[in-house]
């Protein structure tokens, strides 16, 4: 096993700063998936998310010589990601709108998804759940949604969320808590609406 896989972020970034740029590969391997997931949830498009993640790593790599090791690497990386998401979105606003590629145009993604999810039914259910989750996240306040993304997609601890979002620990916890509460409420409302619709249909049939 490569020794780099067992080393901490702090050690790896120190090695990168010392000139062992290969060590950055391990950092990319550790965070690329989670960063892509959050970026995709935030931007709504896989291609944009991949661009943003690439820019994030590039930016982190270029800035690592001036990185202050007193701070955690991962929260620094998450902050760069959020900034890149923001600037990417601003750039897109100024540029010509681009149509989203249809799902069929992402064969690699589809193949991976199928492989990861198993049966088509499971795949369909998972897709529905992710769509529902994204819809719910859009109905939350921006900070609550970001806090939830960091917590669940990024697996960040509360103090890391606080550091990334530049707020207090209690605020970070409250954002996650109230975000979840709001989501639960929205889910309950949606469930109640569904059952009411079903009752109405049954009455009509009767």
């Amino acid at each position: 096993m490569d020794e780099r896989t067992t080393q901490s972020d702090a050690v790896l970034i120190e090695r990168v700063r010392a000139g062992e740029t290969d060590c950055f590969t391990e950092l990319v391997r550790r965070y690329q998936s989670a960063l892509t997931r959050v970026a995709r949830s935030r931007l709504g498009r896989a291609d944009w998310a991949e661009d943003v993640v690439q820019e994030t790593f590039l930016s982190a790599f270029k800035s690592c010589s001036s990185y202050d090791p007193r701070f955690q690497f991962r929260t620094w990386l998450w902050t760069i990601l959020f900034n890149q998401c923001h600037s990417h979105y601003q750039r897109r606003l100024r540029s010509v709108p681009i149509e989203r590629w249809p799902e069929e145009c992402e064969p690699a993604a589809e193949a991976n998804h199928e492989q990861a999810s198993g049966s088509p039914l499971k795949q369909l259910l998972a897709k529905e759940r992710t769509e529902q989750l994204e819809d719910l996240l859009l109905q939350l306040s921006a900070v609550q949604a970001d806090a939830l993304r960091l917590r669940f997609f990024g697996n960040l601890k509360f103090h890391e969320i606080a550091e990334t979002m530049q707020c207090s620990l209690n605020t970070a916890k409250c954002r996650v808590r109230w975000g979840l509460m709001r989501m639960a409420e929205l889910l309950r409302n949606a469930g109640a609406a569904d059952s009411a619709r079903r009752d109405l249909d049954q009455e009509r049939e009767a």
């Binding site: 690329q32 998936s33 892509t36 997931r37 995709r40 709504g44 998310a49 991949e50 930016s59 270029k62 800035s63 010589s65 001036s66 990185y67 007193r70 701070f71 620094w76 902050t79 760069i80 959020f82 900034n83 923001h86 600037s87 979105y89 601003q90 149509e99 989203r100 991976n112 998804h113 990861a116 999810s117 259910l125 998972a126 897709k127 759940r129 992710t130 769509e131 529902q132 989750l133 719910l136 859009l138 921006a142 900070v143 949604a145 939830l148 917590r151 697996n155 601890k157 509360f158 550091e163 990334t164 979002m165 530049q166 916890k173 808590r177 979840l180 509460m181 989501m183 639960a184 889910l187």
Partner: protein, 236 residues
């Protein structure tokens, strides 16, 4: 185990986790009604997260599969300030593209704010002139036009209300029409008439004269409306 720790564990991943702390969490939930209520309330949202982000895709790329709407707008929240304090050395353009991006963004924002201010200022100014001189009422009015030559009504009440479309047509009038206070210049004074007849158009000394003087056709509705508008401004 306290409430904070329980909340941390419940929001960390699927519960029960299969570790020794499960018993402690369950004991706390049975003793603390507030945490119990919270856990029950959060259960559907937590389950949704756990179902949407399966463990099998936790570390593989790309790890998040979601077909979402293309017209969504991500939240305009940034945490820009968080990057810079962590950088101990002075930033140089070669070393920090993030800082450079944010400088450029700040400059863009400043320029956009200035441009917006100037545009709004000129718009308001011109709108004031427009309203003052032409008497065109604000957009959105749906009331029927008042009789233009009814002197018993105050001027503000005599002004007709136009829909947005009509307003758009009126806004296309030549700038010359708005450069003169209505009624002051004799050459812009025309006779008021409720409906324009094509035969009379040659007598007009305004926009309709140019557009319709050589035409034998009955003017279109838009032309008539513009002409009526001219007559309204350039009243007798």
């Amino acid at each position: 185990m306290n409430c904070d720790q329980v909340f941390d564990i419940l929001t960390r991943g699927p519960f029960p986790t299969g570790t020794a702390c499960d018993t402690a969490v369950e004991a706390h939930l049975s003793e603390c009604p507030e945490c119990h209520r919270l856990a029950e309330a959060l259960r559907p949202a937590l389950e949704l997260f756990q179902e949407a982000v399966g463990p099998e895709e936790s570390r593989d790329l790309p790890g998040y599969w979601c077909a979402v709407a293309t017209d969504r707008k991500p939240p305009l929240v940034s945490y820009a300030e968080n990057v810079e304090p962590r950088i101990s050395l002075p930033l140089t353009p070669e070393h920090d593209s993030t800082a450079r991006n944010w400088s450029a963004l700040a400059a863009w924002r400043l320029a956009a704010a200035l441009a917006l201010g100037v545009t709004l200022g000129s718009l308001l100014n011109s709108r004031g002139t427009f309203d003052r001189f032409s008497g065109i009422p604000p957009i959105g009015g749906a009331a029927a036009p008042a009789a233009p030559n009814d002197d018993s009504q105050p001027k503000s009440e005599r002004q007709p209300r136009f829909t947005a479309t009509e307003h758009q047509i009126l806004a296309a009038l030549p700038a010359a029409c708005f450069g003169h206070q209505p009624g002051n210049a004799q050459r812009y004074t025309v006779r008021s008439r409720p409906v324009l007849a094509s035969a009379d158009l040659g007598n007009l000394n305004c926009c309709s004269e140019c557009h319709n003087s050589n035409s034998d056709k009955v003017p279109s509705e838009a032309t008539t409306m513009v002409a009526q508008r001219c007559q309204f401004c350039h009243k007798e």
